[in-house]
């Protein structure tokens, strides 16, 4: 009786020890994986940070203004290019502005373009 019990306990102990070893091993692996992921995350964040700084540098208004002047015909928005919501809505629906006195300056190139686009979209 004693020997059987002892044997059983020994087997159980060995099984538990193996189980623990395997559990610890898996935790070790998981931790190692976590470390790799964390390192990779940090490297990715560093790259993102560098890219953000590069984007900010590329978006620098001084730089863009120089490029716009030398490479394009773009110019600062003039007041003739701006219309109010009411003017725009009136132009899109083909109606005249309900209160023209309030919404001058009209008409502008922007409205003409808006009407042309609306006609194009309608297939006219």
């Amino acid at each position: 009786m004693f020997r059987i019990t002892t044997l059983f306990l020994c087997i159980l102990l060995t099984a538990a020890a193996v189980g623990r070893y395997r559990a610890e091993e898996s935790v070790r692996k998981a931790r190692s994986e976590l470390e790799k992921l964390e390192t990779s995350r940090l490297e990715e964040l560093e790259r993102i940070q560098i890219l953000r700084a590069e984007i900010a540098y590329l978006d620098n208004p001084e730089r863009l203004a120089k490029i716009a002047r030398s490479e394009t015909d773009l110019r600062p928005t003039s007041r003739e290019q701006m219309v109010s919501q009411r003017q725009f809505a009136a132009a899109m629906t083909g109606e005249t502005s309900p209160t023209p006195a309030e919404d001058a300056p009209v008409p502008s190139e922007a409205i003409t373009n808006a009407i042309a686009m609306a006609q194009l979209a309608a297939g006219e």
Binding site: R20, L45, P61, A65
Partner: protein, 587 residues
């Protein structure tokens, strides 16, 4: 010889216990005896018990460990960095729209320790092969001397790998965080810069020293407007060959500074490359006698106090004697002027008479309410209190009425002017984007402010600032050309030419200040170097370019005129722009 000892016979039983049934004399003695088998059984039980205890302990420890592994939290290893480089030791600074103004960048530096180098010549030559910018002779000398040399402060990954592949002894790579300012010299005086080991030393960078780590500081600056302001200011400074220039844009309903420029400026990425004079923030730190812009304050104070009205008339003929001083006009109309014309034509005589009616004490009280007696409550350390006269008699009352005898920072002027035109409310200026606006206090009534808007509009339409006109935005404002103080008086050949204005004039949202320090007269300005010829046109160009970015749309004349006449700015804002009556922010 040797006699083997006789083996003692095993006892049949051991006496293990004897007890007396009674302590009384003659009581029986009980003896309990146990056999050898019984004794072996006892030993076996003890062994089993011992084994059981050992197994129980082992199982308990296993169970505890398994439970810990299963349910316990995994403690992060110390080798895992807890904070990414992006969050760095210092908070980022962004503009009001999220554009980066200052950030932290991870850098890899190449360092070589001379004491660990085996062959200085070989090391220098091989490093030169990867980094051609290296001065090999100088590096070799330093390495031979056993010095610690930083060869490159910012290596690319390819360069790093190439140097690594050389396998040179004594070569090290050190990772570090470097502050980077992607906008370079744009808003340099507002952003400021840091110095290694000292943290931020000027501008908002200094303010970030006490800022919570990990977050970002959101500045009130709009970098797009800043660029327009700096470009136009720089162009005006160059055109009129001015010594220096400064400008500011303020949201008059919140006190937020949208743009602030001080030229010459510097690149915060290399602050040491610029002279110290360029790093000085003239717009917030330097004090100047800013001249006729003060007429707007004097006029508003007199209106508000009831000592003047739009119909009041003042004799501006000849000169006006105050104590031992004689006050004259630069280009006098030499006639009786009404209240509006005094400001329109910038009459020193007229405004001195108005100030006389107001009195020194009330003048002081209003200027104090306009924040012109104290340092501004701003986030920048570059900030100074105005310089007030030692005594405030009738002469000072008269001269301060047109901005002489009192020195203030340009930002003081811009903030006070905002209170004149925004409905009469003073907002503390701020360089941080704030929700709902900075603390405020009422200085003038709404009616006073409405009258002043009309008066200041006439300055543009019929006064000294015709070139400040920006069609559709109906700007209001005041020119100010102030001779600079010199020994024993003022130097008539050196002046500061400023224009301070606001748009849209009928319901101001933004106030602008543009100043040129010692602008020179040109042929095309007919020999004039006054503000109406140089600062006012710059203001107009800035407004026309910046207004669309600021969400301002052009208005037609009838509506603008109606708003000017009614003076009900809030009603206009609500009806036309959908902005709440008070404390609102433009979309």
């Amino acid at each position: 010889m040797f006699r083997r000892a006789r083996k003692r016979p095993k006892p049949v039983a051991y006496v293990i216990e004897e007890t007396h049934a009674q302590e009384a004399p003659g009581a029986d003695l009980h003896v309990r005896a146990r056999s050898g088998r019984s004794r072996q059984a006892d030993r076996a039980k003890a062994r089993i018990l011992m084994c059981a205890v050992v197994f129980a302990a082992a199982f308990a420890s296993l169970a505890a460990r398994l439970a810990f592994i299963t349910f316990g939290q995994i403690v992060p290893q110390t080798s895992i960095a807890s904070a990414p480089a992006a969050e760095g030791p210092r908070p980022e600074i962004i503009d009001r729209n999220g554009a980066l103004l200052a950030t932290n960048l991870p850098m890899i530096a190449l360092e070589v320790w001379g004491k660990e180098v085996w062959d200085a010549h070989e090391t220098a030559e091989k490093l030169h092969g990867v980094l051609p910018a290296i001065d090999t002779q100088s590096l070799e000398q330093k390495l031979r001397a056993g010095q610690y040399v930083e060869v490159d402060a910012d290596m690319t990954p390819a360069e790093r790998q190439a140097v690594f592949d050389l396998g040179l002894p004594g070569v090290r790579f050190s990772s570090r965080i470097q502050r980077f300012y992607p906008q370079a010299d744009l808003a340099a005086h507002v952003v400021g810069h840091e110095e290694p080991g000292k943290g931020g030393v000027m501008g908002l960078e200094k303010a970030t020293n006490g800022w919570p780590r990990g977050g970002a500081m959101r500045a009130s600056i709009d970098i797009r407007v800043q660029q327009i302001v700096e470009e136009e200011l720089g162009a005006a400074m160059e055109k009129f060959n001015a010594k220096a220039a400064w400008a500011g844009v303020m949201d008059v309903r919140t006190g937020e500074i949208i743009a602030l420029a001080s030229l010459p400026d510097f690149d915060p990425n290399a602050p040491g490359a610029a002279p110290a004079d360029s790093r000085r923030n003239r717009a917030t730190y330097d004090r100047y006698e800013l001249g006729s812009a003060f007429k707007a304050f004097t006029a508003a104070a007199a209106l508000n106090d009831g000592v003047a009205s739009e119909t009041s008339r003042y004799d501006a003929r000849g000169s006006f004697k105050v104590a031992d001083r004689r006050i004259t006009d630069f280009h006098g109309e030499n006639r009786v002027l009404n209240f509006s014309e005094v400001v329109q034509y910038s009459s020193n005589i007229g405004i001195a008479r108005i100030a006389g009616d107001l009195g020194a004490e009330k003048q002081k009280a209003y200027l104090k309410k306009l924040g012109l007696f104290e340092p501004l409550a701003i986030e920048l350390a570059e900030n100074r209190a105005p310089e007030l006269p030692g005594q405030w008699g009738p002469v000072e009352t008269a001269t301060i009425a047109y901005g002489h005898g009192i020195s203030v920072t340009p930002l003081h002027l811009l903030t006070a002017f905002s209170a004149v035109v925004n409905g009469g409310v003073y907002h503390d200026p701020t360089f941080l984007a704030v929700e709902g606006g900075a603390p405020e206090r009422r200085v003038f009534s709404k009616d006073t402010s409405a009258v002043m808007r009309r008066v200041l509009r006439r300055v543009v339409t019929d006064g000294t600032a015709e070139y400040a006109e920006a069609p559709g935005y109906f700007p209001i404002g005041k020119t100010a050309t102030a001779d600079k103080p010199a020994r024993g008086g003022y130097n008539r050949n050196t002046r500061i030419a400023s224009f301070i204005g606001a748009v849209p004039g009928y319901a101001p949202r933004y106030a602008f200040l543009i100043s040129l320090d010692e602008p020179q007269p040109l042929k095309e300005t007919y020999g004039y170097a006054t503000a109406g010829w140089n600062s006012a046109p710059a203001f107009s160009r800035i407004v026309e370019r910046a207004a669309p970015l600021l969400g301002l749309s052009p208005e037609n004349e009838a509506t603008a005129l109606a708003a000017f006449v009614s003076g009900d700015m809030e009603e206009y804002m609500e009806a036309r722009l959908g902005v709440p009556v008070s404390g609102g922010r433009m979309p």
